[in-house]
Symmetry: none
Subunit: 423 residues, 2 copies
């Protein structure tokens, strides 16, 4: 089964509103195994609506329109579709009562203009709107279904959940699709492809998608139920882990800071953070996790050299000899924050976020990350791309990943530019 | 001039990714007076790409595609378009060098697969990609322009701003549209409307849009050049400031932290921050500004009570009597971080980010913000909505806004739930 979505509304084309309706609907259809072929966003224009409907009827089994069902003059979806499908509008008393009742409950009188919404197509099934005034419509033509929904997200979602998704599920022709996700960090999309493409190609029944974010790549694998039954998926997964397992931080949806938090809780360990170039972002991410106060004691943003010396015990000689952005200082910072906060782990970042402050030896994007425990102090060198915010994000991600790897005993020398050293 | 946007990528059709690119592009075109007729979102499918391109060429003067320019096998946009337009690909040594150089700067080797990206259409103008590897393309056919851009928002935006928008502006057929922006914080969209709607209604030549973000509302006013000549805009602006001026932190595009940084620099003042519930986010935002090391000395994330006492000199009696989330502790934290870091201003946050930890007297979302200088210590009380991340963002925004208002001598009692107190 294939679907086409038609989003209607001038506000969607002037850049004022993000089309989140289409994202929601296509994700719900995807879970049922219905592929969305196309999302078309058009204005409140009858000719355009009719043209897109005609195109859609040639390719899709399910067509869902959203928007343009309001009572005002620029909401012309219903009229345009009724005309195109050769139907006509009739007045329904019981719809009017429902709308009037809605206004009454809110303590106001129905404006005359809402009377329009009680005019409905003679041959459409009406879809109840539990949270608004405009009913949804379902037309059936040659075995195809055309759903006409309001654009207000709450109303559209209520109709999808109460009526449309159960109806489509009951069509029975749909085969469930299984979704596997592997979230990675520290490895580029093209590198994953290089390492794994023969594995993916040997399994054409798997639909593999890379979803790259700056701080990592999510690998998403979709497989039809019947195909899954006929293969040894766990063998495939073992092979995948054999190749890139150390970069995978979760098979769920959680962020890296949540994984780190879970590992710390499991070990009963506490953590503290001293940041320079990342400016508080590592701690911001750690504290995005509810319950982080159980293992995160606190930290510092030691932006000035003075504060590094005063609060972290970084040696003035180290600053003089190596500069603040150095492995030595990263190690001293990690050790210092661990001692100051009395935690099991101390983590540090020091680098040049940019865009200014770089030199040939210490370019913008150079970041050292330090990690200290009771019996080990390590530091790693990274060089990222040249945008201040991105350098901060990549640095914070690398710091969290370093903690994850340390806690799991995975070698933390993954960055191609890093030198392995410990002090 | 009319535009059609074609967004390409399977991930956009499975509901995994929201199509914010289309929103951004259509809003930028709208500002130039170019109407977006349609946004079509399709998968990585050559036939579909070609069909939509054909339809678009019949209706639009400007066609912009995004997505599918990555190096991997499922990125087929370039090939499909080149084939449809009757062009062919040639290898460009200098593009390859650029890509290799990008990888080299990061300290890694270019994967072989990225070589694809140096294959470019013989008759397309190349659009420089300052932040990624794939260049953009511009084809010209029968007076129409077809722009082919990567789907990564940063890369797409850089090309729009550096190349495409200036080019379209120069087409000369367009009546210039002037854009005025007023970024506000601390006041709701509906409240702005309530206070200002008669002013807006008295100026129908102004197209007023509210762009609400959680941490503030941007008011955007568009006006055609001819209409602007015929009105006294500065009088309108004075009237607007008279009503909501204290909430406006910039008429430019800068973020609040940049405004605060500018004010600090003008005064020659330094700042330090002690955060509890905001977990580092205030400092993260301050350090997003290049040059912030000139006025931001550093700060702490004192998540535990111990660290508040040890590093900030918060009195154990205060914690015992009022709890960590209290005006007294907010004031002591602000004073403490100011003294510890030796700065002109100290700022603090302490609150309950949630979702757990709330009580009837101290609900989730309750945040106190403190500000200390040489001769004053104040604290304000805020109650925000009940989502952890949002509470952190609103708290960080309120802290920065408190600094801005203090530096400008604007009363800082705007929050309806705040009590005015100083200690």
């Amino acid at each position: 089964m294939k679907a086409i979505l038609i989003s209607i509304g001038n506000e969607l084309l002037s850049g004022k509103t993000v089309n989140t309706n289409a994202t929601y609907i296509s994700s719900k259809l995807h879970e049922l195994g219905i592929e969305t072929l196309r999302v078309v966003t058009i204005g409140d224009d009858a000719a355009e609506i009719q043209q897109q409907l005609q195109l859609a009827l040639q390719q899709a089994d399910v067509i869902i329109t959203t928007g343009g069902l309001g009572p005002t003059h620029d909401d012309i979806t219903k009229k345009a579709i009724v005309e195109f499908l050769g139907s006509h509008l009739i007045f329904k008393e019981e719809i009017l009562h429902k709308i009037e009742e809605r206004f009454r409950r809110r303590g106001s009188q129905m404006p005359a203009i809402n009377r329009n919404q009680a005019m409905v197509p003679a041959d459409a099934e009406l879809i109840d709107n539990p949270v608004g005034t405009a009913p949804g419509l379902l037309f059936r033509r040659d075995g195809k279904m055309i759903f006409v929904l309001p654009g207000v997200p709450r109303e559209m979602k209520a109709m999808m959940e109460d009526f449309i998704l159960p109806l489509l599920k009951d069509q029975g022709k749909l085969e469930p699709i299984h979704v596997f996700q592997y979230r990675t960090t520290g490895i580029a999309e093209s590198r994953i492809y290089e390492i794994c493409h023969d594995l993916f190609e040997a399994h054409p029944q798997l639909e593999v998608a890379f979803l790259p974010r700056f701080i990592g790549v999510d690998i998403r694998i979709l497989v039809k139920d019947s195909a899954l039954q006929q293969m040894d998926y766990s063998r495939f997964e073992r092979e995948l882990y054999g190749r890139i397992g150390k970069y995978i931080y979760t098979t769920g949806t959680e962020e890296l800071e949540a994984v780190v938090g879970r590992l710390l809780k499991e070990k009963g360990w506490t953590i503290a953070v001293a940041e320079s170039c990342t400016g508080g972002l590592v701690q911001d991410r750690i504290t995005n996790v509810s319950g982080s106060s159980g293992y995160f004691m606190g930290g510092m943003v030691t932006y000035s050299n003075d504060s590094k010396v005063k609060f972290l015990g970084v040696k003035p000689e180290s600053l003089a000899a190596h500069g603040a952005v150095s492995e030595v200082v990263a190690r001293e910072m990690a050790r210092g924050i661990r001692e100051a906060m009395g935690t099991d782990i101390g983590v540090s970042t020091t680098g040049i976020a940019g865009p200014t402050g770089g030199t040939p030896e210490k370019p913008v994007g150079l970041i050292y990350i330090g990690l200290a425990t009771a019996d080990t102090v390590v530091a790693r060198r990274f060089v990222f791309v040249q945008d201040r915010r991105l350098n901060k994000e990549l640095g914070a991600q690398a710091a969290l990943e370093m903690v994850r790897r340390y806690l799991l005993g995975i070698p933390i020398d993954n960055d191609p530019s890093s030198k392995k050293e410990s002090g």
